[in-house]
Amino acid sequence: MSELHKEIKKMIIDCLDLEDIDVEDINDDSPLFVEGLGLDSIDALEIGLMLQKKYGIKLESDSEATRQYFASVNSLVALVSSNRVN
């Protein structure tokens, strides 16, 4: 697990108050929404806000590309490593 993987998992846990889940419990390529972690649409908005605050990444709220970025931790890591401005 890379440092960025850890950082993003920690961000998800903290900003979504997943108090009974540890970084090690989240698989890099498992789905984040509905299956896997079982997150929902409000969680997606909250993650979107954190990406904006923490890495300066602004996403279209309803584009196909955004859906793909939110598929798993791996896809979020790819998004952040290629688009971060801070």
């Binding site: 979504l16 108050d17 997943l18 108090e19 009974d20 079982g38 409000i42 969680d43 908005l45 909250e46 806000l49 904006q52 605050k53």
Partner: protein, 242 residues
């Protein structure tokens, strides 16, 4: 005069969990902690917990203690101030021109706790969210008894927490968070009545602090009657002798 029965109830505040805790505290009111400890309020499943703020957790803790979540019971959720601390933090974000937390925004509405509860237990019954200035207890019971005319049972939840420092000079509230949940029933439980009384006989206007604790004294059996005076009217809730 309206009659109803109280089938079950539960109340919680920091350090006050069981009926006996409340009874002895009501008789000897020493200061209690202004916040719940980290290990309290663990009855709520994790997926629901994470959506609840410090206001919502005690409210649903007492609701779940009553075990009616499997039944589709209409509910009345009453809080004078709602989540004023959360609303203030959203206003502060706006003031600093920062983006607002979507989770915070959805939870700042007055029916947020009721909404989370009904989604969690797939309850499609009526939900009423009350924010009464004065007479919160009486207004909540009046609304619940009204709904009892068309339902066998009604869940009534009264909950509040101390206001943020900024607002405290303008309003009174209990210095600790608390929540009381009551299942009112047409046919089962202890009989009570609610009636209007001549307000000339009653002294000063009531406030939340006095009313909430008077209601708890009534539920625990320390008293058999409470009277609340607000907005020019006075109401009594009385235990009816068997």
């Amino acid at each position: 005069m309206l009659t109803f029965k109280i089938q079950s109830w539960a109340a919680i505040a920091p350090d006050l969990i069981k009926e006996e805790d409340w009874k002895s505290w009501l008789l000897n009111r020493h200061p209690i902690a202004p916040l719940f400890g980290k290990d309290s309020l663990k009855q709520i499943p994790p997926l629901l917990r994470r959506r609840l703020t410090t206001l919502g957790k005690p409210a649903l803790e007492v609701v779940l203690a009553l075990g009616v979540e499997g039944e589709c019971v209409p509910s009345v959720f009453s809080s004078r101030h709602g989540d004023t601390g959360l609303t203030l933090s959203l206003l502060e974000e706006m003031g600093k021109d920062e983006p607002m937390s979507p989770k915070g925004f959805t939870l700042a509405v007055h029916n947020a706790v009721a909404g989370l509860y009904t989604i969690f237990c797939k309850n499609t019954s009526n939900v009423t969210a009350i924010s009464a200035m004065d007479g919160l207890v009486v207004n909540s019971i009046l609304e619940s008894v009204g709904q009892l005319q068309t339902a066998e049972k009604v869940l009534c939840v009264i909950y509040d927490m101390p206001l943020p420092e900024l607002y405290r000079p303008f309003c009174s509230s209990l210095p600790f968070p608390y929540a009381v949940a009551v299942v009112l029933s047409r046919s089962q439980g202890e009989p009570y009545l609610l009636e209007q009384v001549h307000n000339k006989a009653i002294g000063t206007e009531s406030n939340d602090e006095v009313d909430s604790l008077a209601f708890l004294s009534l539920l625990t059996g320390l008293t058999s009657e409470m009277v609340s005076k607000s907005n020019g009217g006075a109401w009594a809730i009385k235990k009816v002798a068997h």
